[in-house]
């Protein structure tokens, strides 16, 4: 009897196991999400992004939208190469598991309906709703984690090798006389400093006017004064800002234009204009709020372009402007071969008593100065000269 009972129980257990449904989760591959849309750059580390998500309830749909924001920032701003994008896809679920670190849950929106929050929600079927959200994406934290995971290369490693570009900030000609110029300049400098850029101040340079005079005309530079100052202080890139107040009835908005130029050649690297939202002008502090909003947005678009340019250009060597003032005849023809032996991409501009060389050289400014001195002594012997400046990106030689 006992044996029968044991057999019976065993039979029940085995048949139970046999009947148990085993769920095999099929690997459906990476999630397919709806693309996002950049709204503005809040500051150097944060972006405001608009995304869409679909789900059976609001919570799930918002999470899908947040994933969409995350993926859009990664594939459009961080993972640039096909290899990096593939690496992201392979790690997609691991990254989504830490989504709260990178993408905020949209907060309860303001009554005005503007700003962060859920912007729209519609039912698309009996089982699903679609939501559109605007929320913050913490780009810096995301970038650091992606580098740590090996999904993208480290910008810092590369920049450590070649060095970060130095920047100088200057108002546009149109903005020079405006009363908000100082406020705007301070805001731009503050933005760059917080983002850990080296910002050079023209006021800190001794004998600046003498240097600027010595530089003379900087050909092809749209904003000549800014270009000369940038050369004088030794900034690799100079930034021109223009802020215009837009008034409409009782509201105020700011249109902010930011342009970045490579100093030695005057080549435009980036140019963006951003318009802030309109704020009621009778409430205190709204004008500077509008200014800062426009600035953050424009800078957020310009800075990545400067970085991309620098990543590509810096490994090729340092850029220099060499100015030879009061030089003897045919200095350009005699010294051009000297420059070409030391540098690449040498471009020459000749004037009646001045020659400008624009070059990209592997050596630093002192090596270039030494090579030039030897060249001048060899090719232009008998002519006295002095080095008025041997800055990081420009050498100024004045013949007596």
């Amino acid at each position: 009897m006992r044996k029968v009972a044991t057999l019976f129980i065993a039979g029940l257990v085995i048949s139970g196991l046999a009947c148990t449904t085993v769920i095999v989760k099929e690997d459906t591959g990476p999630e397919v999400l709806l693309p996002g849309e950049m709204i503005e750059s809040v500051d150097a580390n944060t972006m405001l992004v608009k995304c869409t998500g679909i789900g059976p309830d609001q919570r799930i749909a918002i999470d899908q939208a947040r994933k969409g924001c995350l993926e859009w920032v990664i594939t459009n701003h961080l993972a640039q190469t096909p290899g990096e994008k593939q690496a992201y896809m392979a790690q997609q679920q691991n990254i989504f598991a830490k989504m709260d670190r990178y993408v905020n849950i949209p907060p309860p929106g303001a009554r005005s309906g503007k700003g962060k929050g859920v912007k729209s929600q519609v039912r698309i079927s009996d089982e699903e709703i679609k939501v559109i959200i605007i929320t913050d994406v913490h780009k810096k934290a995301l970038q650091d984690d992606l580098v740590a995971m090996g999904v993208i290369g480290s910008k810092d490693d590369m920049l450590e090798a070649v060095g970060m570009p130095t920047l100088m900030v200057h108002p546009s000609k149109a903005n020079k006389g405006k009363k908000n110029r100082k406020i705007m300049e301070d805001l731009v400098n503050s933005y760059l400093t917080k983002a850990k850029w080296e910002v050079l101040d023209a006021k800190g340079v001794a004998d600046l006017n003498k240097l600027v005079d010595a530089i003379g005309e900087v050909a092809e530079a749209e904003e000549d004064e800014a270009a000369k100052l940038a050369l004088a202080v030794g900034a690799d890139v100079y930034i021109i800002f223009e802020a215009n107040k837009e008034k409409k009835g009782s509201s105020v908005a700011y249109s902010v234009g930011i342009s970045a130029y490579e100093t030695t050649t005057g080549r435009k690297l980036a140019s963006e204009t951003a318009l802030s939202a309109a704020y009621a002008n009778w409430t205190a502090g709204t004008e500077s709020k509008a200014m800062m909003e426009g600035l953050n947005d424009a800078m957020g678009k310009v800075i990545p372009q400067i970085t991309d340019y620098w990543k590509e250009d810096a490994p090729k060597g340092n850029r220099f402007t060499v100015v030879l003032k009061n030089c003897p005849k045919n200095t350009d023809m005699k010294l051009a071969p000297v420059m070409k032996r030391m540098c690449r991409f040498v471009k020459t501009k000749s004037f009646p008593t001045q020659v400008n060389f624009y070059a990209q050289c592997k050596g630093d400014n002192l090596e270039l100065a030494g090579g030039l001195a030897e060249g001048i002594d060899a090719k232009l012997s008998g002519h006295e000269y002095e080095f008025v400046a041997k800055n990081a990106n420009n050498l100024i030689i004045v013949f007596k």
């Binding site: 849309e37 709204i39 503005e40 608009k50 059976p56 309830d57 609001q58 919570r59 907060p107 309860p108 929106g109 303001a110 009554r111 005005s112 309906g113 503007k114 700003g115 929050g117 859920v118 912007k119 729209s120 929600q121 519609v122 039912r123 698309i124 709703i129 679609k130 939501v131 605007i134 008034k247 409409k248 009835g249 009782s250 249109s255 204009t273 951003a274 318009l275 939202a277 309109a278 009621a280 002008n281 009778w282």
Partner: protein, 535 residues
């Protein structure tokens, strides 16, 4: 350069600039929620004054104005009182405001200095102007009908209860009708005069109020001694001297009551205007209700009803349920603060969060009618029956009733707690009827659409007899008693529900001496089935 090339370049430049401009302006639109996630934004509403379209004494105008403004100037608005009548017409005032806004955009300090004197005469302060500019709504009250006349309170107890007066008393009945008209001013640049548009004229029918005053002294019987008669004459003379003041005071009370009632309807009408209607998205969908970010600052009240709606992809709106407020939070306009909570009372589709709530304006009172069947342990008038055998037997009385409930939640802070007035008529047979008039309280609990209520009331009953010889005197066949029981309702829409009640009832036999032996105390149970309409 050929003309074609020049035109092409100009067009490209114009399109390029327009494209940039459109792209820039698009950011503001991108960051703005659409109609599916709309929230009520605080409005500034300016009162322009009251206009009697018919002859109304100043005193009464003041009472009507006060009562109606109380119903219009709710917490959801910032409001400013401007004494336009003596300084400006609406056109002039709006024109001044527009000019001020224009000058202020250029130089705020100069504009404020220039207009301070002008606006001061209309009692508009600098802080008021900021609020007026914010949303620039104006309203005016117009009294379209008014009457106040002496009247005797009806003897019918149900009618007397409805008019809140003692049957047979003398008093003043007032009838008031008024409209409230809303406009919105255009303070921006451009536009065509007049620089304001009509939003809506909110109307309702006339509302009555009644207030009784002291009755005259009762004359003594014919056989009274002379000194009693003399005393009566003195009292009558004193009463006659006081009567105008008594009637005046009663008139003011009656007007206040009528205006107060009218104000409730006008307030409801105003809340239905889209510009003023409270609306907000559902912040969180819970198992038994929703949370949302409106609260004390907007004057959200306990038991307020909201439509729960969702939109489809084409933008079509559909109501998927209703909720009633059970807890009021302190939500701020910036999205901070604590949310309010509303309980589900109807759910056609499961709430998923993010639905759009729209205020469903209700006054808070309901009127129900029902059929009733009462089973009395003892037939109350078995001794009066023509074929009465003197034997006790049970009584089965059909009938009908009507009740009025008034929600006390906003006053007492206890949700779903009602003050209940009911009258019913039971048909006793043999042309005898038994009338009840009761008042008491009702507390309801919702299990989504099924509503359970506990009811307790006290009142009077009154026998209306057919052909019964009661002698020379007409007796007052009143008794006192109470009833208590349970009610079950099914919530269909906020305005309409069906209900079933089961009550235990006890009323004494008529208290008039000598009649109690003909009647039995009324003790039994009854069941009612009916419908009610809520407003």
């Amino acid at each position: 350069m050929s003309r074609f090339v020049r035109v092409a370049i100009v067009c490209a430049l114009v399109l390029g600039v327009a494209g940039i401009a459109l792209g820039q302006e698009g950011k503001e639109e991108k960051m703005t929620a659409d109609q599916t996630q709309e929230s009520y934004q605080r409005k500034s509403i300016t009162y322009l004054g009251i206009v009697p379209a018919t002859a109304v004494p100043d005193e009464d105008v003041g009472i009507i104005e006060k009562a109606i403004r109380k119903g219009i100037e709710l917490k959801r608005f910032d409001y400013n009182a401007v004494n336009l009548g003596k300084v400006y017409t609406i056109d002039q005032f709006v024109a001044e405001l527009r000019e001020y806004v224009k000058k202020r955009a250029v130089d705020r300090a100069a504009a404020e200095a220039e207009y301070e004197a002008r606006f001061k005469s209309a009692r508009v302060l600098a802080s008021d102007v900021d609020r007026i500019m914010n949303s620039a709504y104006f309203y005016m009250i117009k009294v379209v009908a008014f009457r106040a006349s002496p009247k005797i309170c009806p003897w019918d107890p149900i009618q007397a209860k409805a008019q809140k007066c003692t049957p047979g008393t003398a008093g003043i009945q007032a009838m008031v009708n008024a409209t409230v008209t809303f406009w919105k001013a255009d303070l921006g640049e451009g536009g065509q005069p007049p620089y304001y548009t009509l939003i809506k004229e909110v109307r309702h029918g006339p509302v009555k109020g009644f207030s009784s005053y002291e009755a005259p002294p009762k004359p003594p019987p014919d056989s009274a001694p002379d000194n009693i008669v003399q005393q009566f004459r003195q009292m009558l003379a004193a009463y006659t001297a006081r009567l105008p003041q008594l009637q005046h005071d009663a008139r003011l009370k009656a007007v206040a009551e009528a205006a107060g009632g009218l104000s409730l309807w006008l307030s409801k009408g105003m809340k239905q205007i889209p510009d003023f209607q409270l609306k907000t998205p559902v912040q969180a969908a819970l198992s038994d209700g929703v949370e949302f970010m409106l609260g004390k600052d907007e004057g959200v009240r306990l038991d307020d009803t909201y439509d729960v709606t969702e939109f489809d992809a084409s933008g079509k709106k559909k109501i998927i349920g209703y909720v009633k407020v059970r807890n009021i939070g302190e939500a701020k306009g910036t999205g901070e603060g604590t949310p309010s909570y509303a309980e589900k009372v109807k759910e056609k589709r499961k709430y998923v969060g993010g639905e759009q709530l729209y205020e469903h304006a209700m006054i808070g009172f309901a009127v129900g009618i029902h059929g009733v069947l009462q089973v009395a342990l003892t037939d109350v008038i078995y001794k009066l029956r023509p074929d009465g055998t003197g034997e006790e037997e049970m009584g089965f009385y059909p009938g009908f009733g009507i009740y009025v409930d008034y929600d006390l939640a906003p006053t007492l802070g206890l949700s779903e707690f009602y003050f209940s007035l009911e009258g019913d008529v039971l048909l006793l047979g043999d042309e005898h009827n038994l009338v009840h008039a009761m008042l008491g309280f009702k507390k309801k609990w919702y299990i989504t659409s099924l509503v359970v209520s506990v009811i307790g009331r006290v009142g009077i009953n009154y026998y209306v007899l057919g052909d019964v010889d009661t002698g020379d005197e007409e007796p007052s066949l009143y008794g006192f008693g109470f009833d208590a029981g349970l009610g079950f309702e099914y919530y269909i829409i906020p305005e309409f529900s069906v209900y079933l009640k089961a009550m235990f009832r006890y009323f004494t036999a008529p208290l008039e001496e000598g009649y109690d032996e003909w009647y039995e105390p009324e003790m039994g149970v009854n069941a009612s089935l009916g419908v009610f309409v809520a407003f």
